[in-house]
Symmetry: C2
Subunit: 248 residues, 2 copies
DNA sequence: ACCTGAACACCGTTCAAGT
DNA sequence: ACCTGAACACCGTTCAAGT
């Protein structure tokens, strides 16, 4: 309520330009028009400001891209507020039988990843952007940290956890390939091109014929992405569990 | 040897501009300087030609990117020339006990994928480019086709094969995430930033400390990518084998 | 401290023209 | 048939300047 800083009604209407506000607007822009539309000039326009003003709050476009990825991972953290931290900080590195192993590690990791997926589905441009980025941002690192913590609470040794991170790959963040675009379709979108392709790829064509048999429109784009995601995720989680059981 | 078309020594020295030659040069350019350097203007320069000449042989830049991906997959096909086709075309879709199941499907699929990986390692820009592309090219589709054929020859039903394709994801093509860049490193490249980050991500830091303990330089970038790739691949292949055995 | 204007070095691409 | 030149509508970014 203090009016010490000269807040005219005008400056109150237009929120001041801020790193935070720039990034939030960039996320909105990406959500509405795709990552390619996040351009310094269009972002500035959206903010009612000149392009060069952005450079006062962020060093360059890379920082903006890093920033919006981090913003999404903060959203992931919020969405997972209900989960416990699972951070049993076992200082000694010895893989002795810890008494307090959490038998539900697999279910809770699974739930957390599926929660992350729900956020990613709201921002389908994140996967492609994330692949192009090298280096974890802070929020993403914290997310990875909770995954490690969950696996550790299940009693898995750190080297198996390390392999698990690699085996999960981007699945850890809730996506595989086909989030944004229609993977599996492609040049063969129209059925003519596909029929012509079919004789060159008989095995693939046979598989598609069998799998799509209960879906009326035979054109592709028929995969149940959610089912496939969970299938692949469970394959990996079950495999990890088995590896752990074999050496425990 | 015929000189019917006016081949002066000059035109023989400079090979004629061709779709093929444009794409091969584009691959070389990407190999040497990264995918970002494949630009119509720089590509033309490399070919000793004006930028607009490229548009006579290819419709636009997208076609060039699709083209170089396809070129790499043709390289994958060549590298796998020693493999058999495994194309047992079992017309009836019934999953009855086929007498001619190939018990070595897992090993041969594994070998083919690792062969593809060796090609991808020569062209580290392919993964990122492939993710951004929607739709299989012909050579890539043929590659997928042989993967389907191999799984089918092992007796797996088509719907399990379909799940397998999704579960494998880009691993089918021989890469996971960390081909080009140093995944796992990042903002924490310098040890100062990492130490500061460590207290925010205790579980992650603990894992890294344990896993890196036998690697002298504690900075990241220490993962044995080949080992991790094979670990994840085997996890999936073993899981698929088990799923198949359970329903066979 | 915060924002702007003009300018630079790039992009992909169209279109009319050259040979 | 094959290649070119000029031009257009975009980029990200630097740098000196405004308030």
């Amino acid at each position: 309520m203090s009016m010490s800083r000269g807040n005219s009604p005008e400056t109150e209407r237009r929120a001041p330009l801020t790193r935070e506000r720039v990034l939030r607007t960039a996320v909105e822009l990406a959500d509405e028009a795709g990552a390619a539309s996040v351009t310094m000039r269009r972002l500035a326009e959206q903010l009612g400001v000149e392009p060069m003003s952005l450079y006062y709050h962020l060093p360059n476009k890379e920082a903006i891209l890093d920033g919006i990825v981090d913003l999404v991972f903060r959203e992931v953290e919020e969405s997972a507020g209900a989960f416990d931290d699972g951070g049993g900080s076992n200082e000694s590195g010895a893989p002795s039988e810890t008494p307090d192993v959490d038998a539900t590690w697999k279910a809770s990791l699974r739930a957390r990843i599926l929660a992350a997926r729900r956020v990613m589905l709201r921002h389908p441009w994140v996967p492609a952007l994330l692949e192009s980025r090298s280096g974890l941002g802070l929020a993403q690192a914290r997310y990875v940290d909770t995954v490690v913590g969950t696996l550790r609470s299940g009693g898995l040794p750190y080297d198996l956890i390390h392999h698990a991170m690699h085996a999960l790959g981007s699945r850890m963040f809730g996506f595989s390939q086909e989030l944004g675009d229609d993977a599996g379709a492609g040049d063969a979108s129209d059925s003519d091109a596909f029929a012509q392709m079919a004789e060159q790829v008989p095995n693939l064509a046979a598989m598609l014929a069998v799998v799509a048999h209960d879906d009326p429109d035979s054109t592709l784009g028929w995969c149940d992405d959610q089912f496939e995601f969970e299938f692949g995720l469970d394959l990996i989680l079950d495999g990890l569990e088995r590896q752990h059981a074999r050496t425990a």
